[in-house]
């Protein structure tokens, strides 16, 4: 079984936002010139959300995207089965032919990882269309590729030889808000190996 997931290394991230911009330009090029492309987040049309948090009184950045939960609330909340696990990759995916735009998945996500498209009124999430096709072709998502600090990775958690599995083994990691029982796959590295 393939369990694809993202890794974000907080200790390496330099908050340059290259991943955010890359996601925007690769997956939502039509919104590059829009003045208000993502009113839900008051942000760019990007599937990566930026949270400014305070750690020990100092500002830090927390980057989140779809956590690819094994027990995804969005999948359970969806009344049309549009949000589902892709049988090939195991990734939480939206079938836009089935989606009716009820926003239940957006409300259900405790990570705020989904945002409503202001034009189509349909939900967007990581992975966007360009990144999905990259994965089908054996490539990594654009946010991983462009990161200048090697703070990002993507791969199969069930494959012990994958780079993501190696980094998880060698690092101090957490999964966000595990207490909710969502079983997020995405890994946040607190201290790299």
């Amino acid at each position: 079984m393939v369990r694809l997931a993202h890794l974000w290394d907080m200790s390496r991230c330099v908050a340059c936002m290259a991943c955010v911009i890359a996601c925007n330009s690769a997956n939502f090029p039509e919104y590059m010139r829009s003045s208000n492309p993502n009113p839900q987040w008051s942000w760019l049309a990007s599937n990566i959300k930026v949270w400014w948090i305070s750690v020990g009184g100092r500002p830090r950045v927390l980057l989140t995207q779809c956590m690819q939960c094994d027990n995804a609330p969005c999948v359970k909340a969806c009344p049309t089965k549009a949000s589902h696990y892709d049988p090939k990759t195991g990734l939480v995916t939206i079938d836009y032919r089935l989606c009716i735009g009820c926003k239940a998945c957006v409300v259900a996500c405790p990570y705020g990882a989904r945002w409503m498209d202001p034009e189509s009124h349909m939900p967007n999430k990581c992975l966007g269309p360009e990144c999905s096709s990259r994965i089908e072709n054996g490539l990594k998502p654009v946010c991983v590729t462009v990161c200048p600090a090697n703070a990002r990775d993507f791969g199969d958690l069930d494959d012990p030889e994958s780079s993501i599995s190696r980094r998880v083994r060698e690092s101090t990691t957490i999964r966000l808000r595990e207490e909710l029982g969502t079983k997020p796959r995405n890994v946040v590295v607190l201290r790299g190996g």
């Binding site: 009113p39 839900q40 987040w41 008051s42 949270w51 948090i53 927390l62 989140t64 609330p73 359970k76 909340a77 969806c78 009344p79 049309t80 089965k81 089935l98 989606c99 009716i100 735009g101 009820c102 926003k103 239940a104 957006v106 409300v107 259900a108 996500c109 405790p110 990570y111 705020g112 945002w115 409503m116 498209d117 202001p118 189509s120 009124h121 349909m122 966000l176 808000r177 909710l180 029982g181 969502t182």
Partner: protein, 377 residues
């Protein structure tokens, strides 16, 4: 006069959906996902649920009320419930990105884990049952006859679906772990008690308005609805208190705390507590003791409006203050836009137009029987 009212109601019935349709074309995306449209939908759903629970006192339990007021106005009560279910449908479909295929997609998906799936199923069943009950009562005439076996079976089914629907609607919100303020079990009982308040107050107002010349009926309406409003409000206060106490010891306090003593405290204490509890109970008690129908109508108006605010607060305020992925509180600012306000106005126009049309065209009076086209006056 009747022709004028008929024209007004038909215009309103056309204008209401037109406003909803126009609002749909210009609606915007907000920081919170479920805003005023979902509030309006939930409000009308609770009106139907509450009115049906009040109707069931007669249709299921055989209680006719003082001066047989419940029996004599049973058909009005059923029509009131049906009139609210239609704007609820219109509003929730208009909140979807694909309203025309939304209901069909939900029904054929068999997504049993989704609460919204069950809403569609239960809502469809309730609407069908209510129409069947109305036609049954219209064809039979009177009220007592509808207690015959078939009528009772329909009424019991309606009550069952009704309670399931209200509880499931509450769980649409209560099952969302992303919004800690929506505490599952508490939402269900709050919705049921709130439904009785809004359903009873709406019915009391409706019946009082069309029977405003009939002093004895007004007197019986006052005797019947005043204690219901007092008791349902007291029950709501108890359940709300229980919810707040529970929230104090859980993450839910991040939003409940803001409601009780933070950003939304003014609305809570002035609208929900002062108007919706203190003044409403005092007025309803006065109405009951003095047999004052004006006081009952005033109570009903207050509770109807306060109920809309309560639903707004339950749905919007708890989404406005949530926990970030790091577990820290975050504030999402939301103000209803013009499109949402137009759609809500459209919903209320449809509701009022249907109430008026039904009262004018259907034989809803106790002694009335259909003369034209099987169900019309």
């Amino acid at each position: 006069m009747r022709s004028l009212l008929l024209v007004i109601s038909i215009i309103a019935l056309v204008l209401g959906p037109a406003l909803i349709a126009y609002g749909y074309t210009i609606k915007e995306v907000h920081a919170i996902s479920w805003g005023l449209i979902v509030v309006g939908y939930t409000f009308f759903a609770l009106v139907t649920v509450g009115a049906t629970i009040v109707n069931s006192l007669y249709s299921v339990f055989g209680y006719k009320g003082p001066g047989e007021v419940l029996e004599r106005n049973f058909k009005y009560g059923v029509w009131f419930a049906i009139s609210a279910i239609i704007p609820a449908w219109l509003l929730i479909l208009a909140d979807l990105a694909k309203p025309l295929e939304g209901f069909f997609r939900i029904i054929v998906s068999f997504a049993f884990e989704s609460r919204i799936y069950w809403m569609a199923v239960l809502y469809a069943i309730l609407a069908i049952l209510l129409v069947v009950e109305l036609i049954y009562a219209l064809r039979l005439g009177g009220g007592a006859k509808s207690k015959l076996t078939l009528g009772l079976a329909i009424a019991v089914l309606i009550l069952l679906v009704d309670v399931l629907l209200a509880s499931n609607l509450a769980q649409v919100f209560g099952s969302m772990v992303a919004v800690p303020g929506w505490i599952g079990i508490h939402m269900a009982v709050l919705f049921l008690a709130g439904a009785v308040i809004v359903g009873a107050s709406g019915q009391a107002l409706y019946i009082s308005l069309y029977k405003w010349r009939d002093k004895s009926t007004l007197d019986y309406v006052t005797q019947f609805y005043s204690p219901i409003l007092v008791l349902a409000t007291l029950l709501y206060v108890f359940l709300l208190g229980w919810t707040i106490v529970t929230a104090w010891y859980s993450p839910a306090w991040i939003s409940w705390g803001e409601i009780v003593r933070g950003a939304f405290a003014t609305g809570f204490w002035v609208v929900e507590v002062l108007l919706g509890v203190v003044i409403a109970i005092a007025l309803a008690a006065y109405a009951l003791l003095r047999r004052n129908s004006i006081a009952l109508m005033l109570t009903s108006v207050i509770l109807f409006v306060v109920s809309l605010y309560r639903v707004y607060s339950l749905i919007v305020h708890h989404q406005s203050i949530a926990l970030s992925p790091a577990g820290l509180p975050m504030i999402l600012y939301y103000t209803p836009d013009a499109a949402e306000i137009l759609m809500i106005l459209g919903g209320f126009l449809v509701f009022l137009a249907l109430l008026l049309l039904g009262t004018l065209l259907l034989p809803l009076g106790y002694e009335e029987k259909p003369r034209r086209l099987w169900i019309f006056k």
